[in-house]
C-alpha cells in the first residue's frame, strides 16, 4: 500500500458514509466546526476502515490521545487519516 492507495480507501469510505452525495477532497476536515462528518459518521468511517484493515491483514487502531485534537489528530483531514492508515499498515509488516 502507498499513500495514494490509502487516500483512495479513506475517500471511498467517507463518500460511502455520506451516501456518495459529496465529493471528498484530500484537505477535507473530518473534525471541528467545518467537518461534514458528525461523531456518529466518524465512528462509522472508523469501523469501515477497521474492516478494510482486516481484509488487508492488519489492525487499524483508531483510539488515540489526540483523536479529537484539531492540531494533532489523525482525523484532522482526509490526508492525515490516510497517512495514519498507511503507517499502521506498514508497522504491522
Amino acid at each position: 500500500m502507498n499513500i495514494n492507495n490509502a487516500k483512495k480507501i479513506v475517500i471511498e469510505v467517507i463518500e460511502s458514509s455520506l451516501d456518495f452525495k459529496i465529493s471528498v477532497s484530500d484537505d477535507m476536515q473530518l473534525i471541528g466546526g467545518e467537518s461534514l462528518l458528525d461523531s456518529m459518521k466518524l465512528v462509522e468511517v472508523c469501523i469501515a476502515l477497521e474492516d478494510v484493515a482486516d481484509e488487508n491483514g492488519f489492525d487499524f487502531d483508531w483510539t488515540s490521545e489526540m483523536a479529537m485534537s484539531k492540531s494533532r489528530s489523525m482525523f484532522r483531514t482526509v490526508q492525515s487519516l490516510a497517512e495514519e492508515f498507511l503507517n499502521q499498515s506498514e508497522s504491522s509488516l
Binding site: 461523531s39 456518529m40 465512528v43 462509522e44 472508523c46 469501523i47 477497521e50 483510539t63
Partner: protein, 225 residues
C-alpha cells in the same frame, strides 16, 4: 450470543448459567477458563491488550452479539486510611478501568450491528455511601458515571447501556462480612432484605428483553435507595 466478563464465579457465573438455561449462547471471559462449564475466552479485564485480544476473537466468530455483561470485579471492605496502595490500584484498575476497557473495545462490534446492550455492575454502596467501602465505592461510582455518559455516546447506534447496582449478594466478595453487617446495609434499602443472585439474574433478563428497549443510561439499585 452474549459475552459475560467475570464468568468463572459469583454473579458472572450465575448469570451465565441462567442465560444458558434460557437458550442463549454464552461466551464467558475469565482469567482462567479451565473450569468453565461453557465456552470461554481467557481475558484479564484489567489488561488492555488482553481485552483487545478477546474482543478480536469474538469479532472473528462473526456472530451477532446481543449484549456485553461486565461483572468482573474485586472488592475490599476497608477504611480508606487502612487500604494499602496495591489494593487501591487493584480496585480502580479492575472495577473501573476494566469496565471501561471492555466497553470501549467491545463497542465496535455492537456499533457495527447497530444493536445490542451493555450491562455494567456497580453496587448499592455507592448510593448509600457506605462507611468502610470508600475506595471500592469510588471505583464503582466511576463505573456509574462512565455508564451514563457512555450510554449517550452509544444511543445514536441503537446500543443501550445500563448499570445494575446490587446490595450485599451472597458471593465470594462478601467473604468476612458478618450477618449483622449485612443487615445494617440492607436496612438502608427501600426494600430492607438481602437479595439473592437469582434476583440479579432476573434483572439482567429484564434488561436484555426487547421490552426494555426504552431503558438506557440507568443505574438500577437492587432493593432501592
Amino acid at each position: 450470543m452474549i459475552i459475560v466478563t467475570g464468568a468463572s464465579r459469583g454473579l458472572g457465573q450465575a448469570i451465565c448459567h441462567r442465560l444458558i438455561e434460557k437458550g442463549e449462547r454464552i461466551i464467558g471471559l475469565a482469567r482462567s477458563v479451565e473450569e468453565l462449564e461453557f465456552e470461554g475466552i481467557i481475558c484479564d479485564v484489567s489488561d488492555y491488550q488482553s481485552v483487545k485480544k478477546a474482543a478480536r476473537s469474538v469479532r472473528k466468530m462473526g456472530e451477532k452479539v446481543d449484549a456485553i455483561i461486565n461483572t468482573a470485579g474485586v472488592a475490599s471492605m476497608n477504611l480508606a486510611v487502612t487500604t494499602n496502595e496495591l489494593t487501591v490500584q487493584k480496585l480502580i484498575q479492575t472495577n473501573l478501568v476494566g469496565t471501561i476497557y471492555c466497553c470501549q473495545l467491545f463497542a465496535p462490534i455492537l456499533l457495527r450491528q447497530k444493536s445490542g446492550s451493555f450491562i455494567n455492575f456497580s453496587t448499592i454502596a455507592v448510593a448509600l455511601a457506605l462507611k468502610g467501602e470508600s475506595v471500592y465505592t469510588a471505583s464503582k461510582a466511576g463505573v456509574e458515571a462512565f455508564s451514563r455518559s457512555f450510554a449517550r455516546e452509544m444511543a445514536d447506534f441503537n446500543v443501550r447501556v445500563n448499570c445494575i447496582a446490587p446490595g450485599p449478594i451472597q458471593t465470594d466478595l462478601l467473604r468476612g462480612i458478618t450477618d449483622t453487617q449485612i443487615k445494617k446495609i440492607t436496612s438502608q434499602q427501600v426494600i430492607p432484605k438481602q437479595f439473592q443472585k437469582e434476583d440479579v439474574c432476573d434483572l439482567v433478563e429484564i434488561l436484555l428483553d426487547q421490552k426494555a428497549s426504552s431503558l438506557s443510561g440507568q443505574i438500577l439499585n437492587i432493593g432501592g435507595v
